[in-house]
Amino acid sequence: MTASGSNPVAYTTSSRRRRIALGMLLACVALPSSAWAENSDAAEQTDIQSTAATTPPAGAASVQAAVAAPQGAAAPVQTTADWTTAGGTPQGTRFSALTDITPANAGTLVEEFAYPTGTKGSHQGSPLVVGKVMYVVTPFPNKLIALDLTHPGKALWTFNPQPAGYARGLTCCDIVNRGAAYADGLVVYTLLDGNVVAVNALTGTQVWRTKVAEPWNGETLNTAPIIVNGKVIFGSSGSEMGVRGSVRALDLKTGKLLWQAYATGPDSEVLIGANFHPYFAKDRGANLGVSTWPGTLWKQGGGTSWAWITYDPELNLIFYGTSQPGTFNPDMRPGENKWAASIFARNPDTGKAVWAYQLVPHDNWDYDAVNEDTVVDLQIGGVTRKVIVHFNKNGFVYILDRATGQLISANPFSFANWATGIDLKTGLPQVVAAKDTHQGVVTQNICPSAFGAKDWEYSTFSPSTKLFYFGAFNMCMNYEPLKVEYIAGTPFTGASLGMGPGAGGNMGEFVAFDPIKGKRAWSIKEPLPVFGGALATAGNVVFYGTLDKQFKAVDANTGKLLLSKQLECGVASAPITFKGPDGKQRVAITTGLGFINGGFAGGPCPAGSTFGDGSEAQSALPQGQAAVNFGASHPAAAVAAPATSGYVHVYKLP
């Protein structure tokens, strides 16, 4: 879509995640794979091919902390014994120095224990490990379980924050949680009821709880925070209720609100000031968060940041993206609609924006920009460039200079026919008019689908192979209007999105992508979309989980399958790796699918309602008291079938 707005035909969008799923569940259109006849030259959907193997740097295992060194020999950005944040490293590389597990022995991994989280639904967060303790946050009611790694299968304590409301299943929102972050003896995470809580990592007692969002106004919290410079920084969810997205920072010690940066509105609220220097001309101007909207619709501008935030300690910048405008149809809001579908670089101490780039102005395909912005240094054209790499839902991988916001490249990583490319001079997509959706018109074969070529599932970058690895979707969609829809007792005619697999017939894939060459190194076809994230190690093994209940390990260089362990339920999270108390490498992954991702896999797993059956919410305790249960162990035995809970599985070498 051009900046001047769309054509006058209105579009009642239903291309949003949850309603897509409902549309799929209730009005699913079976599309034979032959319907998607187009193949792309740009996205090489090759099966596994070898690439030139790169040996890991010598001594990688002995390197310490996960911080890039300043000028001179850069220390590798990697985790070692612990795992303290969703992205592994602040830079979001999800890369570990551990080398016990290699392609030679990964096939021998055995399960050390499996611990039930006691909760159903989509388990989207990764565990944390600090020393000899593993921390797992569950979907609502957002319990924090501390597992004693010296006694596999035993919990030290469970912190139950008893988030407010939701009695009788009253809920506005999805119930996932994307995990916690650890720093300075505190495990910090968000609660669905709009609170952020900090828990003493040793004792499991609450240190502080701060209410920042009101779910009945539509804003909820389910995102993983990052902790930078003594500040807890996180986004929010729920743009559908007219909430303006924002990113907030709380003081790590006290939980006090330090700053809040909105995604729309005047510069003073977006925290845009004199030091703001967007790279592209189209992103320069005063109060664009107001002027690129008609009237006052920026007040319902959406643009939430519900996925991952990354950090460059060198430049002292955080990076994150914003979602689509959440409300009304695109024709109600002609204009670029800043700053939805944008990437922000901000100073984490003040929240002030340093630069921003809006990827898709006035989007109507649900191609938001919330996916991670991985902080890496890459050799591009013989020069070391300090970049962020962002694989967008729209099928293009954006590589931006992280200091200036310059767009260095934007190659397709998956088949995309909604645009022919991204203009590096203007930063604008070259949209294909025939793929615009219009109310009343069937638009066929839009690729990627509204789920995206890659969604928020966390990618990983290996400095050994210099490849990115991530789970992806291979789906296209037909936009078909005029289905009756119904929300809150209010009917309207919307659209259904008939989804089907793209070329090849598989709905998902696991991709290894070379950011320098701008093309895939190899990919593995998966029958179902891959909703879980990835992990890479210096041992040259890459791990991920699938919707069809497999925990997989593949060779980082060749993609050769090394291990495929059957799980009791599918995976919607990213695995982690860490050192066990015996000093040996472990890998952990959580299982549990909800209605949306489970919809691809025969239903939620574990089955049954996420409300009731023991996961029913109780009314909140006054003033945020919480219950802490001590003990509670489960034998390290096989998972009972059928599963009644999500699990965390921990694997080790025999």
């Binding site: 006058p8 209105a10 009642t12 969008t13 239903s14 949003r16 949850r18 309603r19 009005a27 699913c28 259109v29 079976a30 599309l31 794979s33 409301g165 009788r168 809920t171 506005c172 009101e214 009945w216 106004n217 539509g218 559908e240 209720m241 007219g242 008609p294 009237g295 006052t296 619709l297 319902q300 689509q324 959440g326 409300t327 024709d331 109600m332 809001r333 649900d366 109310q439 009343g440 209007p481 005029l482 289905k483 009756v484 829809e485 119904y486 929300i487 809150a488 007792g489 009917p491 309207f492 005619t493 259904s496 989804m499 697999p501 919809g599 691809f600 896999a601 025969g602 239903g603 309602s609």
Partner: protein
């Protein structure tokens, strides 16, 4: 093969209402006596329903339960999103008293009433709504329901946006905090108190909440936008059940038919503006004929 079979199989379940459908068709079904009629309903969504059972869905449900000699029970769940998926389709309850006819994925009775989107203005305001082309709309302060679900938009909002009438829009969320009564009524109150000039609201909300303002407000049906024949403004409403529960649905149909006059009274008493029932809007109906009857 794409998604459909696996997903639908995952959702379809055994008919828990089997006890209600077990036996013989006919007047009063002995197999139903002593069983429960479990209704999926919002605990705080007047005029539809609330836990105090004051809504029209509550009253219709009571009527049907009595007719079927079944104990009336509720599974309460807020209709914010994923309502059907988490209630009816999750087998927590067996019937939803009002769903739009033609809603995919469920089975439904024949529509037993239809309502439309309505336009609410102050009775003293000389600006009257005749169509979405009325020039005064451009500068009027317009209230629209914010139905949420990431970009979902009501038909009046689409009609307005087609014409670029977007400079003075105020969005009213459908719900708010636990304990906040009747947030859906705020859009109507806003017309009465002058903070906006015109509201486009789904009929039951418009009609019900306008009652408190009596003669101060005009509530008029909108049945079509000639410029946008693809937009439906009228929605026939039916009782929804799971797709496999067609025998149960038939029993409910019979009960509905026996009580159509009382149901019409219940709707009127709750301020639901009704229009003539037309065919389910499975496709665009460009040929809506005849003046609707507005009953309150």
């Amino acid at each position: 093969m794409a998604c459909s079979k696996r997903i639908l199989l995952g959702l379809a379940g055994a008919a828990l209402a089997a006890t209600l459908t077990a036996a013989v068709a006919g007047e009063s079904d002995p197999a139903v006596a002593g069983s429960a009629l479990v209704i999926c309903a919002d605990p705080a969504n007047l005029p539809y329903s609330n836990e105090a059972r004051e809504g029209f869905e509550n009253k219709i449900a009571a009527l049907l339960a009595d007719d079927l000699h079944a104990e009336l029970k509720y599974f309460w769940f807020a209709e914010h999103k994923t309502f059907l998926r988490r209630t009816l389709l999750d087998k927590r309850c067996d019937a939803v008293v009002s769903v739009p006819a033609g809603l995919p994925g469920i089975a439904a009775t024949k529509p037993y009433f239809a309502s439309s989107y309505v336009v609410v203005t102050r009775a003293g305001d000389e600006r009257r709504f005749t169509s979405f082309d009325d020039p005064w709309l451009r500068d009027a302060r317009i209230g629209l329901q914010l139905v949420g679900n990431e970009g979902a938009t009501t038909p009046p909002a689409v009609a307005l946006s087609s014409r670029g009438f977007n400079q003075h829009i105020t969005a009213f969320p459908m719900w708010s905090e636990d304990g906040d009564k009747n947030p859906q009524g705020r859009i109507v109150d806003a017309v009465a108190d002058g903070s906006i000039d015109v509201a486009f609201v789904w009929g039951p909300f418009g009609g019900y909440f306008a009652k408190a303002h009596d003669a101060a407000l005009r509530v008029e049906p909108i049945t079509s936008d000639p410029q946008r024949p693809d937009l439906a403004f009228v929605f026939p409403m039916a009782i929804g059940v799971r797709k496999t529960d067609t025998a149960f649905r038939d029993r409910l149909q019979e009960a509905l038919d026996r009580h159509s006059a009382e149901i019409a009274t219940i709707l009127r008493d709750n301020g639901v503006p009704t229009v003539a029932v037309e065919a389910p809007p499975s496709t665009a109906d460009a040929s809506q004929q005849g003046a609707p009857e507005l009953t309150r």
